[in-house]
Subunit: 276 residues, 2 copies
Amino acid sequence: MNRNTLVEQIKAKKSFLCVGLDTEKTRIPKHLLNDPDPVFSFNKAIIDATADFVVAYKPNTAFYEVNGSEGWLSLEKTIDYLNKNYPDIFIIADAKRGDIGNTSTNYARAFFETLNVDAVTVAPYMGHDSVQPFLAFSGKWVVLLALTSNSGSSDFQYFADKGGETLYKTVIQRAVSWAGPDQLMFVVGATHPEELAAIRALIPDYFLLVPGVGAQGGDLTAVSKAGLNSQCGLIVNSSRAIIYASDGVDFAEKAALESQKIQQQMLLELTTAGII
Amino acid sequence: MNRNTLVEQIKAKKSFLCVGLDTEKTRIPKHLLNDPDPVFSFNKAIIDATADFVVAYKPNTAFYEVNGSEGWLSLEKTIDYLNKNYPDIFIIADAKRGDIGNTSTNYARAFFETLNVDAVTVAPYMGHDSVQPFLAFSGKWVVLLALTSNSGSSDFQYFADKGGETLYKTVIQRAVSWAGPDQLMFVVGATHPEELAAIRALIPDYFLLVPGVGAQGGDLTAVSKAGLNSQCGLIVNSSRAIIYASDGVDFAEKAALESQKIQQQMLLELTTAGII
């Protein structure tokens, strides 16, 4: 999916919400557990209930790999269902991969060809030749980790050189020389609104994927103020607060209500910012 | 597997060789392609031919994920085959994972419980709470990326603070406060022998996993001189130079010869260093 299509989606749906499909078997409503593939049944119901309010879905591979090859099959079925039924919705594999060149090429093929998602999250530690193989796929996106939402982000991402420049800013500055805003986004956690504003100033045109709203405590208004650009430029993710809004038979209905609630806030933010 | 068992294996086999099972369908000998699972058939033959000369196998997940859920099944069958037939051999999932706490816990369960490997490689960018969930599994190991073998290692791993301390050293110094040498190893590429010596001086007791010998150009004697400690303390990986030593019907035989050749060099290094 190209950037224009993504921006059009955002304006049409008045939403920049991404729902994280971090589906855990232990948290699936009991009535689904007798289905042949409870994880896929759950995802399908969540997708159908929330699709009107979201522009992206983001399955995290950990929650599929924990179920082994069966889990990977649930992931394939989920992506396939999205591609067939919701071709306009952006799909991000949250995989945080990154390896030496030939290996990264195989990861890129795994996600962009075999699974067929639009974007994959990549960890920057191994440098340019671990990221560039992902950028060789036209129409596909790298979402590079910059400043993550967890407390461990303070361990190395704020590591600063003698001029006071932090590692996460150095990652951003180096990476924008590898790809433009039509191929590259950055992960910036909602738990760092001040840094988000500084990052927006540094890279006005790039999309930012912002996790950490909801269960992790980030605030949507603060994120919007700090991060919106003239084309929106934000994809804000919420996972647990939406998909586990209820553990009963009404789980999909409650997920729809939660995502609609966030979409309504986003409509307000987009209007205030003059984007729609 | 605990450290003593690993060290006993090294002394018994007079080898610290790890074979990387980076099996690509396009490089599998043609006569195997009609097997129901050519990747598993290839791995099984390579394992049976080389097991006498190696102490560890290291499948890299990229080469399995590229084949989707079928690929993940080939990986499961390979690990299962190793656990059943070669219970004394150390198994490293080269996955370079790392995510926020709850997600890393699911990755740890995926690799240590569902797949049942001994160790998993982890990327440090997201800090302590992305690594610690892996350390909660007793008898299992984290192999943390420190200084990788690729050219991109120079992009961020050498990023230095005002005192001149590099990121990769900071990663090591921070990580040794999270776990001791019975649970934690570090990846240090064979392409950096000088830094390897300095790292050995910094952490005399920790095992180092050293990729980059063979196809990537690293030198075994230089690595041994720089990295051996009194208990060996090294696991040196070779992938392509061994598993693709021949693309004919003699591929397993040639892989055995290549791994034996390296084992013979290792015997010499271990003897010279007075370890055996």
